[in-house]
Symmetry: D2
Subunit: 144 residues, 4 copies
Amino acid sequence: MPRTTTYRVRVEFGDCDPAGIVFFPNFSRWMDAASLAFFMQCGLPPWRELARTRGIVGTPLLEIHTRFVKAATYGEELVVATQVEEWRAKTFTQVHRVTRRAADGTEELICEGRETRAFVRRDAEDPDRLRAMPVPEDIRALCT
Amino acid sequence: MPRTTTYRVRVEFGDCDPAGIVFFPNFSRWMDAASLAFFMQCGLPPWRELARTRGIVGTPLLEIHTRFVKAATYGEELVVATQVEEWRAKTFTQVHRVTRRAADGTEELICEGRETRAFVRRDAEDPDRLRAMPVPEDIRALCT
Amino acid sequence: MPRTTTYRVRVEFGDCDPAGIVFFPNFSRWMDAASLAFFMQCGLPPWRELARTRGIVGTPLLEIHTRFVKAATYGEELVVATQVEEWRAKTFTQVHRVTRRAADGTEELICEGRETRAFVRRDAEDPDRLRAMPVPEDIRALCT
Amino acid sequence: MPRTTTYRVRVEFGDCDPAGIVFFPNFSRWMDAASLAFFMQCGLPPWRELARTRGIVGTPLLEIHTRFVKAATYGEELVVATQVEEWRAKTFTQVHRVTRRAADGTEELICEGRETRAFVRRDAEDPDRLRAMPVPEDIRALCT
């Protein structure tokens, strides 16, 4: 089984909309935090440092696909379980399963997101442009 | 061609992350606003009123699938073009194309999101539960 | 000394702006969460329940005054220490001190916010209007 | 009277909380956008360019003081009127008045924020540190 990390989220009042449930872009925000937490827990240094030492400024999204199964609301604690499902030459797919512990102790699936991401660095000539780069071998090794 | 509405977005400094580009959950936020703007421009009253008169509290997402093509940054103006691609008995698919006018006048695709949504109302017995309902015929007629 | 609760925040990449530091409205977001966490830790039920049993829908802000002392960035953990500084007939002042543990173990002040809030309930005749109400005695007793 | 610019905001569903009103940190977000819009409308280039040409990376907040007068909700359009109230050697105070046009045509004050800001540049030796700098004379002249 691929390496899996977990990231905990407290759902706050301000994360919820007038229907009283989590405003869904917040799930994307939490999955993004879980994506980075995955890399940090696997032993990578912060982007800030990777930017300075290797020019890597992050792993922006190419594609995201999320299924929303149950609503969540404030006062609840959610767990995001994250793993890399597939590594390709220049991209990788990360899966985030967001669950909640139900009153009877079982785990309920709230939503599941599948993200395609690429490592990017600043263009040498135009630092405002970001360019995809091959997945660094050492990073891949750390994260599998 | 299905009815299409447009929603304009100014990208702000605070919408961008340390890499200097739009933090992607903001695209979901803008697509959600464009989804609602679509219904309002088609002639529906605000959710607040639909909640009172017909118990409809919104159209939460069941699924979202977004492809990110180009990065956007602050100072830019984006246009979200929204239409319903398919109506089914209890769900519908809304498509949002986010574009930017390039310097040479052509339109650049920034990202494209495909959302599956359902109309929901509060459960009669437990008002904290939301229940999917058939797509109301009159609403569908207004939006096609 | 008044009762003080603490609320922990991990600063995420997406909480930071293109200057690489926390986009400041996020501090207001965290203080709001800390404000609610204070009431929950003092033993109050969730707003959801207070809304149903007593009509109290929250403690919206009347005024906020925040001093920003040092910048914070992603990867850091912050602590928000919250207390009620003063209770008045219809309003109260809550103070939030946001600190970070420095490398040498000392505590650094990041920012400090002073919020004036009131308990509100829905108007009996027009449920879309919120009305300030006297600070409930039992709530005040729990929180002091 | 000092130079005043206006910035328009559509309040979206996702900007509101379970009480159905604007989640207040969004007002700070809009004031920040209005602050930058003020400088752009006065003729300053984007921060991105100022960062490259003069090392100025923005005008982070030192202090904010906001009074909330009325609630706002989704579907409404707000106007933020912004001006600089006072220029000092190293800081300045910007005032944002957020108003809504009432049904009878009069202007209602929603909230008013007073921000103390400073121009900052990256430290020459440690580019992760931001340093306050004297208010540039040419910028001040443009904005008065």
